[in-house]
């Protein structure tokens, strides 16, 4: 991988230079790519899930990761914020390799991320408002009233302000996802990860979820990484699309580049959904 010298941005960073935070590699600091995954391998027992993934996540854009079931999309996403350790490879977040970090250092990096889980993963022993203020309680010194104001402000922006006192079990699937998004956004993360956000939603709710992701990316200026099976969603909101198959990224590019791809696997996967037609029909 080669970089033009004028593309390399040396960030001052928000970290204490006296304290080691992973291995810094100036060649991986980049204005365009906020997260860079390099030759990532991961196995579970004898099953090799990731076989050398190379992936660049574009800053401030919606990056879609597509692929069949069991191809390792969620595993890849969990690696991005250090929930799993790879067997080998590197993950650079703003030029800092997070792979060698210990748990304490990873917690500093994780504050840059927000994660919206496939089934929301709300804490079911807490009310909605307690769920949303959880990151604030853990990482700020704000008073409870201020936290609640921020939480209700965020719930209001996501059109679920009236559910603050309810518990997650009392919410619909779509409402739970909005609350999960509010919880992920309340600390103003730079990178927002969505793990199959439209799973289990009807077509109208799916469109609503897509709009929510798009609006969030536009309003908050976050870098979004979305794992999805839903090709209609992928091509509706994705700025950059990458396909994971057999443990490697087999195709990556903008919507237009993907629609001109000659990858047989990609074309079959996308066309089978019926949502999108390739512009060039001769692979």
């Amino acid at each position: 991988m080669t970089l033009e010298s004028d593309e390399i941005e040396i960030t001052t960073g928000e970290y204490d230079p006296e304290r080691r935070l992973g291995a810094e590699d100036p060649t991986q600091r980049h204005e365009r790519w906020q997260v860079r995954v390099v030759r990532l391998h991961k196995s579970f027992d004898d099953h090799q899930v990731l076989r050398g993934v190379d992936l660049d996540i574009e800053r401030g854009r919606i990056n879609m990761i597509i692929g069949g079931s069991g191809q390792g999309k969620s595993v890849l996403m969990k690696h991005l914020m250090g929930l799993l350790k790879p067997d080998s490879g590197h993950i650079y977040v703003d030029g800092i390799d997070v792979v060698p970090m210990n748990e304490y250092e990873l917690n500093e990096i994780r504050k840059k991320f927000g994660l919206v889980f496939q089934y929301a993963a709300l804490f079911d022993s807490m009310s909605v408002e307690e769920n949303v203020i959880f990151p604030l309680v853990e990482h700020t010194k704000l008073g409870r009233q201020e936290m609640l104001e921020l939480a209700y402000d965020m719930l209001g922006k996501l059109n679920v302000p009236e559910h603050g006192r309810k518990f997650p079990a009392q919410l619909s699937g779509g409402q739970r996802k909005r609350v999960a998004l509010a919880r992920a956004l309340v600390l103003k993360p730079e990178i927002l990860l969505y793990d199959e956000p439209t799973t289990g939603l009807d077509p109208i709710q799916t469109k609503v979820a897509d709009d929510m992701i798009k609006e969030t990316a536009d309003s908050f200026g976050v870098t979004s990484v979305v794992i999805s099976h839903d090709m209609a969603s992928v091509f509706r909101i994705g700025d950059r699309i990458s396909m994971l198959a057999d443990g490697v990224i087999v195709a990556t590019g903008t919507r237009s580049e993907i629609l001109h791809s000659r990858s047989h696997y990609l074309r079959e996967f996308v066309e089978t959904s019926g949502a999108v037609r390739f512009e060039d029909t001769s692979p």
Binding site: R110, F117, Q118
Partner: protein, 273 residues
């Protein structure tokens, strides 16, 4: 796509050898994994932020909410020991020693063991279920994703609360047990109350009480560690949570009874010097 060739069935002797070798290896691995979780929880206990509110919540769940069931079982345990004691000692016309039997049995053995078995049934199973459900619904991953250490947030408060509350509950068990024994021996079986209390106090030393409370502390730590471990590393959906809960109860109960013997042996040797 290639299909993997089916492995040939193993010879019965090979399967037996696998079992014989696998059993101790599994035991050692399990002990190591529990020790690792214990070490992590201890390391996070002395590192800020100190989670006092969570500790109090767990102390309430393990301790305060267990008081009625501990008091009830303590009362009837004491009563049945006294009842059997009266009938046994009556054979040699020594009913007055029922207080001694009751005091020593409760404070040294039955108090800590029964109390911790009750906590296991109520709290360790609850911990395994709660943490197991959190694991399979990705709530533990969510805690990690919010840059919070899940061991510090979930395991450390439970271990501390279990270690602190088990001796306190044992005291409740002992007191209600003595009251139950008094009711059975003195009120129902007409043992002289002065003799009952005299033999109880004369032969039951503070070291006996200390021995029981120390055991309870160790059992409390053990049962919460097992409950947390089983839940924290649960997998396999709802069935996996059920298995984790069952294992938490079975392993904790067996460990309490085994540890009781070894601790009793050590403590008797140390304290009798």
């Amino acid at each position: 796509m290639t299909t993997q060739a089916e492995a040939p069935p193993k010879h019965p002797i090979v399967r037996l050898a696998d079992f014989v070798v696998g059993l101790p290896m599994g035991f050692v691995r399990g002990v190591g994994q529990h020790a690792r979780l214990l070490f992590q929880a201890a390391a996070w206990a002395v590192r800020p932020p100190y989670r006092v509110r969570l500790l109090i919540e767990q102390a309430e769940f393990i301790g305060v909410e267990s008081v009625p069931i501990i008091a009830l079982t303590g009362f009837f345990s004491g009563a049945v020991i006294a009842l059997q004691g009266v009938y046994a000692f009556r054979l040699v016309q020594a009913e007055r020693f029922v207080g001694t039997a009751l005091g020593l049995t409760l404070t040294r053995e039955l108090g800590p063991v029964f109390t911790c078995l009750m906590i296991t049934a109520r709290a360790a199973s609850g911990m395994a279920t709660e943490l197991g459900s959190m694991r399979i619904t990705e709530q533990i991953d969510a805690i990690t994703a919010f840059a919070v250490n899940p061991v510090q947030y979930l395991v450390t408060p439970r271990l501390l609360a279990g270690t602190i509350m088990a001796p306190l509950l044992t005291m409740v068990f002992n007191l209600t047990g003595i009251f139950g024994g008094y009711m059975a021996a003195v009120v129902i079986e007409n043992v002289d109350p002065a003799q009952f209390f005299y033999t109880l106090r004369w032969y039951t030393d503070p070291t006996d009480v200390f021995q029981g409370l120390f055991k309870a502390m160790v059992f409390g730590l053990t049962l919460t560690l097992v409950g947390c471990f089983q839940g924290f590393f649960a997998s396999g959906g709802a069935k996996g949570v059920g298995i984790a809960t069952t294992r938490a109860v079975v392993i904790s109960s067996v460990l309490i009874l085994c540890l009781d013997y070894f601790l009793g042996d050590i403590l008797l040797a140390v304290l009798s010097k």
